[in-house]
């Protein structure tokens, strides 16, 4: 069975909704407490980026099955300004130095798969997957 759902991000409180949805799906899928917390933190970071830099966007969730493993795919997308220098934002210490949060490298660490496509002026799409251990 493949289920998918999505949460729109526009207000700051939508971040909470996005976390909640992610955590619920993660829990149902059999993720442990610690991975649930990691998934929620990653979603927070992605949704917060949308809220801060793109104003509007969405977080989509999809339960995926592959061979004999199950996972949760989370895709955050927006039509915001995009990211000019991707390698810069993917560098450790770039976003965290000002205490802004985990940044995209943090999201990459929290999840098992991470991919980002960003077109300056058009928007950003970040896809991540966490597998149930």
């Amino acid at each position: 069975m493949i289920t998918s759902s999505s949460v729109r991000i526009k207000k700051e409180w939508d971040i909470v909704g996005a976390r909640q949805m992610g955590r619920k799906l993660a829990k149902d899928l059999g993720f442990g407490t610690i991975d649930q917390a990691r998934i929620a933190t990653a979603i927070s970071e992605l949704a917060r980026n949308i809220y801060l830099y793109a104003e509007e966007g969405k977080v989509e969730y999809e339960i995926i099955e592959e061979m004999n493993k199950k996972g949760l795919r989370i895709v955050a997308s927006d039509k915001g300004p995009g990211i000019e220098d991707l390698s810069k934002v993917m560098e450790d210490g770039y976003s965290t130095s000002g205490g802004l949060g985990a940044g995209l490298p943090g999201v990459k660490r929290l999840m098992d798969f991470f991919d980002i496509i960003s077109d300056p002026g058009k928007g950003t799409t970040i896809s991540t997957i966490k597998w149930v251990r």
């Binding site: 407490t33 610690i34 917390a37 933190t41 965290t96 949060g101 985990a102 943090g106 929290l110």
Partner: protein, 335 residues
């Protein structure tokens, strides 16, 4: 401590022991556990997770409120865990960078190496020690078939890697000057143009003292581009004087003139070339006085030149608690 790995049963036993006895021994083991976790890159949230699991196994009847509160704690630790991992990865990067710099420093040393020439009737000693990995000081000897010895001592203001790069440029332009070009003032004029043309960075300046010694006549001519004046020890009068001469720092303007002075060296005289790492040596909070520098030089100058410069260096090194604040370069020419 038997915790070879971080697992719940191990931690549970330890926790149980502690809860029963509340003894220092268990706490010591907890400390070991914590160190082990750091060594193995285990994030704080994972330790809390293990704690929660252990607690639940020990107390299956754990009140729901406590359980919830533990999850709450776990949540607060996630970002710390990330910051910790990031710190570790930055630390690794720093290590890689440091080893790259040390390789660069070796390359620099090879590029800038100069051999101390054998000049009959002249005892030469030279030492140059960087305060950090890359040396911003530089000295170079040039000899020709007319028994001339050129001595250049330079200091790049603005240290580190950029300074080292600039130094290589200076060396190679000096090497490319024709043998007929010997006069210190002319050499500095040329170098000034080279630096002015090639270094756009206005925050980087190079000072240089250039001396030309002729072995047949004993004449020493010298010019300076804003460099720390050298000292001259006159054996007959048993006094030192500064080899002062006017000239702009290299690279400030493309056209600069450099004064040139001369002296004839006689038996027992010593010409001393140095950088401000010697004269601006700091003892505690104060800079050393010029007289103190000369006292130290006087103390060791009777030694063979190489031994003398090394002794002076060791003296200042000890004075500064073996921690140089600036690159240190000292050259003795003993007649």
């Amino acid at each position: 401590m038997k915790t070879e790995k971080i697992d719940v049963s191990n931690y549970r036993d330890l926790l149980q022991k502690y809860i029963m006895a509340q003894d220092e021994r268990s706490l010591y083991q907890a400390e070991q556990f914590s160190k082990y976790s750091i060594q193995h890159n285990i994030s704080p949230e994972e330790i809390i997770n293990v704690h929660i699991q252990a607690l639940k196994e020990l107390y299956p009847e754990l009140p729901a409120e406590i359980d919830a509160s533990m999850n709450f704690l776990l949540e607060t630790m996630i970002s710390y865990g990330l910051a910790y991992q990031e710190f570790r990865s930055l630390q690794e990067k720093q290590g890689a960078l440091e080893s790259e710099i040390s390789i660069a420093a070796n390359v620099q040393q090879n590029l800038l190496s100069t051999t101390k020439p054998n000049v009959i009737g002249l005892d030469i000693g030279a030492i140059s020690v960087p305060s950090h990995q890359m040396n911003g000081d530089y000295y170079h000897f040039v000899t020709d078939e007319s028994n001339n010895l050129g001595i250049a001592v330079a200091d790049v203001i603005g240290k580190g890697i950029p300074a080292a790069l600039a130094m290589s440029m200076i060396k190679y332009s000096m090497d490319s000057f024709p043998d007929t070009m010997r006069s210190p003032s002319v050499i500095l004029e040329h170098l000034n143009r080279v630096v002015g043309r090639n270094i756009a960075d206005s925050s980087m300046f190079i000072t240089m003292f250039y001396g030309l010694y002729n072995d047949d006549t004993g004449a020493l001519q010298y010019s300076s581009a804003g460099h720390e004046p050298g000292f001259y020890y006159c054996a007959e009068k048993d006094t030192f004087f500064e080899m002062k001469t006017q000239g702009l720092v290299l690279g400030v303007t493309c056209q600069a003139d450099y004064e040139q002075h001369g002296i004839t060296m006689v038996e027992g005289d010593i010409a001393i070339f140095l950088t401000d790492g010697v004269t601006e040596c700091r003892i505690g909070d104060r800079f050393i006085e010029k007289e103190e520098v000369l006292e130290v030089i006087r103390e060791y100058m009777h030694l063979p030149a190489q031994e003398a410069v090394c002794s002076v260096y060791r003296h200042f090194e000890r004075l500064q608690d073996f921690h140089l604040r600036d690159d240190f370069t000292l050259i003795f020419l003993k007649k």
